[in-house]
Structure formats: C-alpha cells, structure tokens
Subunit: 223 residues, 2 copies
DNA sequence: CGCGCTCTACCGGTTTCCCGGTAGGCGAAA
DNA sequence: TTTCGCCTACCGGGAAACCGGTAGAGCGCG
C-alpha cells in the first residue's frame, strides 16, 4: 500500500517539481496539492491522507496553524515542515503543533525522501540545521534571555495578515471577528515583541518566515 | 542532441525537484546546478551550456546581474527567469538584461517545460502574469523602458527607513528634511509601486534587498 | 473552586498615515 | 532657453494606527 501524500506550498511550480521528485519512489503517491492551510484541511476532510509536506509560509492560513488544526482532526497524519529558514521559534512552534519532521529548502531533495521514510516509520526527522537549532533551544532553556515571546495562534494569524498589508477591518472580516478585537491582538503583538508599528511587525513576520515574502502580483491581489 | 540546461536557485531542494521535473523530457539534460549568480558564470566558463533557468532572488549575485554578465560572455545561451514575483521592475530588468523567458513560481510545472521549448526555438516566452505586467507597462506610458518605476536615491532612503519602522517625522529628522517632504516621498513610492500602506512598503523593501533583513540561519545565537 | 490565559468587544483620545492638491528651487537634458 | 525630473514644503480631510483603559466568556489547571 503506497503512502498517500499531500503537498502544501503556495508555489504551484514547487509543488509540481516536488511531485516529480517523489514520483521516483513508487511507495509514495501524491494524492493532492494545496496552496494554503485551508486547502490542506479541506483535502484531509475529503479523502484519506497519510502524510503532509507542509510549507510554513503560505498566504491565508500558515503551516503552523494548519498543522495544529489538521492534527486535532486527524491525529494519525504525519506532518513534515518545509521552510526556507530554520528560525528557532517557528521550529519549536511547529514541533509543538505536532509535526514530526522539519527540513529547510536548502537541503537536498533526497533529504525530503529520507524524512518521509523516517516519519512513515513513526519516528521524527530533523535536518541538521534544524537539529542544531533545537539543541541550542534546549541548552538555552532557563537562561536569562531564554524565551522569545510566544505568540498565540490568533496572534500569529493577525500578524501574518498585518504583514500582508490588510487593515484591522479587513483582517476582522477575514477572521470573522470585530476590528476592535483585531486591534487588541495587534496591540498585544506589539507589546510582546516590543515593536511599535505595522512596518516593524511586517519585518518581523517576514524575517521569522511566517509571511510569504511577497505573494502579490503586479496587478494586485483579489482580496 | 539534448539541450544542456543549468538550474540556478538558492534552494537545493527546489533544484533537485526541478531536475526531477525536467527529467520527464528526454530532450532536456540538466548538466549543472548553481546556488548563486557567480556559480552560473563559473559553470558557463567551464562547460558548454544551452539554457539557464535562473532564479531572481539569490544570495550574492542576483539573477538579473548574473544574466547580464552571462550573456555578455555567452550571447548564445538562453535565459529563463524564474521568480516568486511578477513585479514589473523585476521583469523589465531581466528582459533588459537579455533573458528570453520569465515565469513565476505560481505557475504550473508544465509552464516551465513549455517555456524551455519556446526559448529553444529562439522565441520569447512569458507566462500570463508576466505578459499582463509587460502589457500594462506598455499601456501605461507607451514605452517599456519609461514604464519602469525606478526609484530615486531619496525615495530609496525613505523607503528603507519606513521599512525600519520610523515615522515620517523621525525620517525627516534623520535626513534633515521636513516631515511633509518625507510624506511626499512616501506617497510617490506608493504610487510608483502600486502599494498602499507601510506594511506593503516594508515587504517590498525587504524583498528588494533595500532593507537589511537577510539574517543568517538561526544557528543557535542567543537572541 | 478560584486562578490564569486567551479571545472576544468596546470606549476615548492622540498620532500617524493616506490621498488630493499647490508650488518654488535647481540641475540636467532637449 | 525651455522643459523635465527631483527635491523641497505646505494645506486639508478622512482613515487607520496607536495607546490607555474596562470587561465578559470560555477553558485548562492546581
């Protein structure tokens, strides 16, 4: 029985290329592709899935929130995080969300195949960069500067949408909450992160890898 | 005779995946991979190359400068730009540099195969998004070259400081000009770039490399 | 059961942004 | 020399951000 895999990344070309890469392993079958976290959830609700290769930075619902929700509904699914960077906080957040693998895109393609095999066997796979990050996080535990401020799921969602240039009202519409509530989240974000305007929040979101660097095409987004 | 292709992208995984994708076409042979513009030039100097799939955003020498230098030394090589964005400035710069194709990563993998076939035949291939961008540039000012929203030195300075989270007044103090003048620069930036708030400006500045955010991987630095 | 945290929501006030103008100085190019 | 682009500077108004509160509902935990 082949492993039913879902590829989640906002770049269709990357998905297609990954699909070609995974096709080398007859035991792997890519059954669906998703361009956002919402699509991942919809796919998992509609068909059986064994494993998801999940990009962290996606427009709409990001990979961390998607992982948390996905595993809440389907605990048996294996999740492998895929990101351009190995930022400590988001590695930790993703692992806490229940992912069992994390690879950076700087790694070789074979690394992904190895990770899938490992996760399929029920074990956890981290690429070297990420392993170093996790190790240093463990060593730092209890140190003075230890914890970078942890963000709640809601705060991360709001942060991402702020970084995409949406106003509080637009974010409220998107998340189905009042603009005033978005305002509170934004203020809490700024307090936690010691940042004081949306430009700094946008920078933070991008450098932390929670926001895709730039999704918008020249003509503008349909949102 | 198969087409000798070089893949240039800073993500090894993407290169490997693309390689798998291109392997479907027996007429294509990926003869080398590069992680930066410098590597592309070194490869082209060492072995015969017919076509380069060139990512725009690469550390060190970017894809646009690499294209310009590559074609100066090897005018016969076909270059296809590959980018996550369809920003007008990117497209125009790359085409001016001599590239004969441009695709965004949001496109399907087949799009890349089509582009390679087209460029191989000596023609130019632009994916729909990019074609629309070029068309709008033509419609806007009647001239491709005139349409480029080139930023002035002052505008670049202001953009960078906006992206760093400074207010107009703070920027004015820093540059020794009135806040109202900074305001004008900000509005001109937004008009030129078709962006409408500081968050989007920050994103743009970061992706353009104007704002220094490209921190190295988190190798365990006590942040 | 309180306790703490999160998410929700609103109030009021100040600052900054955002968008539309106008306009003068200045240097380079036509 | 006239025109053009750039930098400078201001006015006015509406929108959004920013900062300080208060407060109820839900939930997990000791």
């Amino acid at each position: 029985m082949s492993l039913r895999i879902v590829l989640a990344d906002d770049h269709q070309m990357f998905r297609h290329a990954l699909r070609a890469l995974l096709a080398r392993e007859p035991a792997f079958k890519v059954v669906a592709e998703a361009a956002s976290g919402d699509e991942v959830l919809a796919i998992a609700a509609a068909q059986p899935v064994d494993l998801v290769c999940m990009d962290i930075a996606m427009p709409g619902m990001n990979g961390i929130d998607a992982t948390r929700r996905l595993l809440a509904a389907h605990p048996h699914i294996g999740v492998i995080g895929l990101s351009a960077f190995a930022d400590r906080q988001f590695v930790i957040d993703l692992l806490e969300a229940g992912a069992r693998g994390y690879i950076t895109k700087a790694e070789a393609g074979d690394e992904l195949l190895r990770a899938i095999h490992t996760v399929r066997e029920g074990r956890t796979y981290l690429c070297p960069d990420v392993a170093a990050t996790v190790a240093s996080a463990l060593l730092d535990r209890g140190s003075l500067y230890a914890a970078a401020p942890r963000l709640t799921e809601r705060e991360r969602q709001v942060l991402q949408l702020i970084a995409e240039g949406l106003t509080s009202m637009q974010i409220g519409d998107r998340l189905h909450i009042a603009a005033s509530t978005v305002d509170v989240h934004r203020r809490n974000l700024m307090r936690k992160l010691d940042l004081h305007n949306v430009a700094e929040l946008a920078r933070y979101a991008i450098t932390q890898g929670i926001s895709p660097t730039r999704q918008a095409l020249d003509g503008g987004l349909p949102n």
